[in-house]
Structures are given as structure tokens and as C-alpha cells.
């Protein structure tokens, strides 16, 4: 244990003044200190991607980043993806294409896909498959996730 450091985390546009140990992971700070439990923890060693959030618009595994490293940056999580009652096109596409079953890996996939498509709206199917293969899902067999992300990509480009 070591002394706590006071930091400001900006999550989905809202500031959270918290005090954390230097070793505290970003995902624990988001979930426990800021109460945003939409981001999930699947492995804590950066492989499954369930904890993916956007930090300054880049997909990041929040289990591999310390909370103090995210201070002052813009963090976006699943909790802020919808526009009020209206689902983000990516969320809607996951529903339309049955891209989720238990839903545990879903927040990570949604944030990963949104982050990548915002940066690269015309990503090739091959590159998209590479991106999506960085997260794990145990329920769906991935095909419906791939379909959903491709459909959402079209929708997002059209906006």
C-alpha cells in the first residue's frame, strides 16, 4: 500500500475527483471509484479486451493502464455511448445482428469497434477482422459480431 494521489478522471464528459493509489488500474478506478460499472474485467492481463475503453479516442485496455496515467485525458466508456434513449448505431447493430449473448464482452467490443471506426471509417474487412480478433468472446463464435460491426460501419459512414 502506498499513499493515495488525488486525480481528476473525465469519463463521458463528466469530471470525477478521486484519490487512488498509484498502482490502481484505470478499470478499477472507473468501476469502483467513479461507479461506472459498464466496463467489465475479464482477465486483468490485457488479453481478453472486455475492459476496452477509449482514452483520447484510442481504444485502451483499462486493466493495463493505471488510473493516474489517465488523469486529464478524455475517457469514453460504454456508459456514455448511447445518445439518451437512442442507441449508438454500433449498439443497435449488435442488437439487430444478435452480436451478443451473455453480454459480458460486449462493452469491450463496442468500444473497440467504435474507436477504430471513428479513426478509420473505411477500414478493410481484413483489417477489421484483425482488430476484432484482439478481443475475446466465448458465446457468439464472432460471426454476428463481425456482421454487426460491418453494418454499423456503413451506418456511421452515412452520418
Amino acid at each position: 500500500m502506498s499513499a493515495k494521489i488525488e486525480i481528476m478522471l473525465t469519463i463521458n464528459g463528466r469530471d470525477h475527483a478521486i484519490a487512488v493509489e498509484p498502482r490502481r488500474t484505470l478499470v478499477d478506478a472507473i468501476r469502483e471509484d467513479c461507479g461506472q460499472t459498464g466496463t467489465h474485467i475479464g482477465c486483468e492481463h490485457g488479453i481478453c479486451g472486455a475492459c476496452t475503453v477509449l482514452v483520447d479516442d484510442e481504444p485502451v485496455r483499462s486493466c493495463l493502464m493505471f488510473a493516474v496515467q489517465a488523469a486529464g485525458k478524455q475517457i469514453r466508456t460504454i456508459d456514455g455511448l448511447a445518445d439518451g434513449d437512442t442507441l449508438h448505431p454500433m449498439q443497435q447493430a449488435f442488437m439487430d445482428h444478435h452480436g451478443l449473448q451473455c453480454g459480458f464482452c460486449t462493452p469491450g467490443f463496442l468500444m473497440l469497434a467504435v474507436g477504430v471506426l471513428e479513426r478509420e471509417p473505411y477500414i478493410s474487412d481484413e483489417d477489421l477482422l484483425d482488430v476484432l480478433s484482439s478481443n475475446l468472446c466465448r458465446c457468439t463464435g464472432y460471426q454476428n459480431i463481425i456482421k454487426a460491426v460491418r453494418a454499423a460501419a456503413k451506418e456511421m459512414r452515412g452520418k
Binding site: 474485467i41 475479464g42 444478435h98 449473448q101 458465446c139
Partner: protein, 755 residues
Amino acid sequence: MTKPAKFIGRSVPRLEDRPLLLGQGRFAADINFPGQWHMRVVRSPVAHGKLRKIDASAALKLPGVHAVWTFADVAHIPPIGFRLTGLTALEPYRQRALASDTVRYVGEPVAAVFADDPYLAEDAADLVELDIEPLPVVLDASGPPGPFDDECNTEATVIEKKSGDVEAALRAAHQIVELDLSIGRHSGVPLETRGLIGRYDEARNVLALYGAAKVPHWNRDRLALMFGRKPESVQLFEGHVGGGFGIRGEMYPEDLLVCAAALKFRKPIKWIEDRREHLIAANHSRQQRHKIRAAIDVEGLILGIEDEFFHDNGAYARTHAATVPDLAAAMLPGPYRVPAYRAVGHMRLTNKTPCGTYRSPGRYETTFVRERLIDAIAAKTGIDAIEIRRRNLVPKSAMPYDLGFGTLGTRLIYDSGDYAKLMDKLLTAADWPAMQRDLARRRAGGEKVGAGFAMFVEKSGLGPFDKVRIEVAPSGAIEVVTGVASVGQGAETAIAQIAADTLGVNYAGIKVTHGQTDRIDKGLGAFASRVTVMCGEATRLAALKLREEALAAAAELMQTTPGALDIVDSEVVRTGAPGPSMSLAALAAATDGLSAEAEFKSSQMVYPYGAHVVQLKLDADTGGVTIERYLVAFDIGKAVNPMLVEGQIMGGMAQGLGGALYEEFLYAENGEPLSVSFADYLLPTAREVPGVEVIVTEDAPSPLNPLGVKGAGEGGITPVGAAIASAIDDALQRPGAVTQLPVTPQRLKALMAAD
């Protein structure tokens, strides 16, 4: 009265999706109570040894650490009992909440730390010093048994299933085909690890357990018994569940620890498993070695099969007891006629993580074994493998087909099936002859490509009962309350579809409540692909009763007879004649609510069946396998929601692929686990899992329930290992080359080097 289905059979969107997509799921880790303590389990780093001493003094000195428990603190809690296939012979092998004087696998709980904060609890756990004197380990379940304790050895029990005269069949055989086959150690590995919160509510004298899954009612009753409480004073609450696959929701040592600590300290106790813990502490499954032989006649017809197998159950007999070896022994024959059969399964304990079920338990294993055997018969006789299958299939005319023995307390009788028809449908969809020609041409060009085919019979809908209550509140809100559970498979949607069609309302307006022991007094939970079959029919029966009740009440209010009324789109209307109608909500308001309850009882399981085709390519340099095409045909009698069924099949196939090519829990010679992270235990990713061409057929509805439903949860995974093994043989042009799953790149390279 039967009405045309509006929802059953349609791929309507899931009721479950919206909160999950919004990040508003309530998984175990999302549940918190003020003042909660966090538990960290100290686990044995030694695979087998005498536990001499535990020194927690340094841990207890950390500020914020409240207690460190060892066996003495939980000695009053009995060992964990058996939920299925319990045999008294297995009782000495049950696991305690914490190890007493012997540790038997790396990962076995030996102490529990309770602290204010999970980081602190983990720090403290690292400071707990263990003095363990190592003992020799037993790691090979097919070798000689070793000692378990002073009285018992590691052969926990022997399972036997038989019918007919195998010795006579072997004597009469034209030829005998013999194989020695092994299946690796895999498990369900859901993306959400286990998590539990135990809480004692002083005001109501209720011990509550959050994070329950799969079998909440059974666990409630068992916890009540173990802690000497009335069942009503123990309540289990299922939240969102991040994948089940057999492993989650069984009663584990950690369930007992959080409950006991909540009772003792009067604090909410929260425990969230980490991934390393999950991979060494939660149930493993699958590992078996089969020595099988078949007696065949000159036409390649099976006269008899004799199988001796060794089931590696890890260090203890957990809640499933002998379920997996029992199912393996019972379901090995699959879709083929086996006039004489004997399977002898040795359930052995080893110094590895204890085992339970994993999706398609006993069938993934024995489908690999049986289909390898069929391929071997084809190779030995020189008759095409498809033709050998066709000759040996149980014909439709033989249904219902009694295998002559039982499993899971039921007699094994295939309720319905047209295996040959399904086989033809799949071969046509695959254009099998063209695929064969194309592959032969490519092989002639130097490519290592091949195709595999495998068939299977699944089981589903295990009884003996399920219960459903449907309520229409005076507000008009409709709720279906069940004793089953949801593990992410879409149970709420399927149940709502069935209720909606029977009642005459929209499925989207129905709330389905499950996994809450305070809402319904009993239920059997979600396992064995039973939910849609058992709960589905109970739902239909309850909805029929509710409908009758509603129409009787409405008839009085509308001054007519119930027979002249119907419910259409939530309106009570006059059949055939226009006239005033009344909404179901108004009726419920006028009658102060409506409610009906029904149970569905069934003493037999229902048996879906199917076949898979795979076409693949081997990479001689890397030992990698690329799946070029994958087809699944699966007959489930009646698909309540085809989209969900296809989702189950595709997801199951991906897991099967993992078990066939990548996933394996490995151990060092001293019993140290080597697969302790996702970097060592390789789940397939979007790169490895191919698209699947799914053919869902409804040729053989079950005669055992009016909807004809059979369970769809497992047929996606069952024959994947078998089909891939067959295709690798074909690519290598060496029948029988694959004798072991998974065919990892290392093993495949070794096979290719032997060319």
C-alpha cells in the same frame, strides 16, 4: 385451442439486449453493499502435500485486514455434496471449504483473507505463509491408482453400461477394429469469472447470496442444510451471468466461505475471482482416455463395441459426482445401432483441478471416440466412411429407440429422429462429392487439404420438473416467474415467445423473472439444454391456465360464455362476431389481477441430433489449421427462435474448435499448472473461427412435449473435435493419424514430420 403462432418460430429480437448494450448489466462484480469486506482465497501452490502449518501473523498485522480463516474456522461446514449422479462410493472424495491436513491440487483453497479492500486482501494473502510437505503426485488417470487418503485410492468409482453380449460379438466378428484415443483437459472458461456476495440480513434473518447462477434453488436448499437454516431463511439472487457452459453456478468452496463469513462477521462479503484463479480453481472437464474396440461383420456392420476408459476427474468429486463419465459411457453409441455394448469407465482422481461438466459433457469426448472408430472401420474394410455410417444408423422406423440402459436417472430412449435424412441434407448442402473431387485435385497439386464428417446424438430437456407462475398485475403488467436460470442464452426471450403465443399478447411486453429463490419456491435451473424444453412447456401450461381463468372472468363481465371469447393482441374479443372487447389490462384491473401456476413433469430426456462437415487446410510450416468451410445440420424438433438457435450453434462450434485445436490445461511433472492465463490457455479469436453454414431442421419433433421442442444448446460443439480429426486425417491421407485432442500446432507438426 391452437392458434397460429405469432412469435414461436420467429427470430424476434432479444428482450435481454438493451441493458447489456447500455452497460447497465448487473453482473456479480457490479453488486456492492455498504460496509462490505472483500475476500481473497489463499491457494495451495503445491499439487499434493501435507499441510503442516499456516502462519497468518504478518497478514493480520496489515491495517484493514480483519481475519484470516483456516480449516479450523470452517470445520463445522460439511463437505460439498452431489447434485447429480451421487454415489455413496464417492462421498470420501468430497471437497471441504478449506483444505484440512492435505492439499491435492494447485489452487486448492487453504485459507481466506477478509479485508476492507480487494487490493489489501490480495496483499495480505501474499503474506500468509504455508508450510506444506510435498507428496508424490498422480497425474495420469490411466496409470495405476495412487492413495487418496489412508483408506481410499484414486479410483473413485467404476461406471458400467451394457446391453447384449459383447464377448459373443467379438467372437463372431469378421474383423476387430481397435483404437486408443485421448481427449485433452478443457473447460467452459466464460468471459466473466465467478463472483459472489454473501450477506446476512439481520432484520429479516435471511442469508442472501448474490452471484448465483445455473441452479439457484438447489444451492439454496443445500446451503440451508449445511448451515442448519430453514430454506426460507436462505435466498439466492441471480443477476446477469457472463456465460455458463456448465462451469458457473455449481456450489464451490468459495460459496461456502462467503456465506459462512457473512454469518460470522455480520458483514457483506464480496469475492470476485481473478482469471488465474478461474483457470486453476473452477471446474475443468473433458480429459479422458479410451481404449475401444469394435466387432464388425464383412459388410462393415457393427456387431458390438467394447470400451474401457479412464476419466481424469482431478482432485475431488465435486457437485457433478460421476455425471461426466456416466454420460460418456451412456452416450458413446450415438446414432448407430450397437447390438452388443459394454463401456467400463474408471473415474480416477488426480492432483489437478477438480472437474465438472462443460457444454456437451461426455458427448464431445465420446463423439470424438465413436466417429474415430467409424472412420477406422471404413479404413479397415475399404468401404467409404459415409457408407459405413449409413449402414449402421438407427433407422427412423426403430424410433423410439431404447438403448437398454440409463443415465442421469432416466432411461436412455431416443424419442425421435431421422438420422439418414439429416445426413443427406447435410451432404447435399455441402455438395460432398464435389468437395471430395476438388480436395483430391488440390492434394494432387501439393496442398494439404481435407474434409471431415461426424454425426452425433445430443440429449436435452432433463426433468423431472419445472414450474412457472404467470401473473397479470392489476396494472396490466405481465410477468412469468420461473425457477430456471439464464446464463446468457436468451432464455427470457424464448420463454416470453411461448407465453405470448399461448396467451395472445406481445412477447415484448412480458417480463420473465428467473433465478430468484424468493419469487418461486422451486425450480431446477439451467443446464443440460433443459430450459426451453422444461420451462417452455411449463410456461405454455401456465399460460393456458391463465387464459382460461381470464376468459372465464371476462365472460362474466361481458355477459357471454368463455367459449365465445379469445385473446388477440392483449384484447379479449368475441370470436367470429364483432362487438365490444376489453383489454387484458382492464380485465386484470377489474379482477384485482390474474395468476396461474403450472408444472411440467418429464421422466425422459429428448434427443436432438445432427452432423457437421468441415473442410480445412494444414500449414506444413507452422502446424496451423485453417478452416475453409464449416457446415452444421442440427435437428431440434422445433426452433422457438431460429436466430437464437443459430447463435447457440455458432458459439458452440467456436468452443468446439478451441477444444479441437488450441485449448488445453497442461501440467508440469510436479503437478504445477502451466495454463494459467489467456496467454497459455488459448481461446479462439475472430481470426480462427470461421463462418458456419447452419441448417436447422425440424424433421423429428419430440413426441414428449406438445411443441415438439428439443434443446439447442449443445449440438454446435458436440462433434467438432471428431469432424476436425477426420478432416486432418484426410488432409494427411493417413486414416487414424489423429488419436488425441487438441491437435495443437506442435502435435500437428509432429504428425506431419512422421509422414
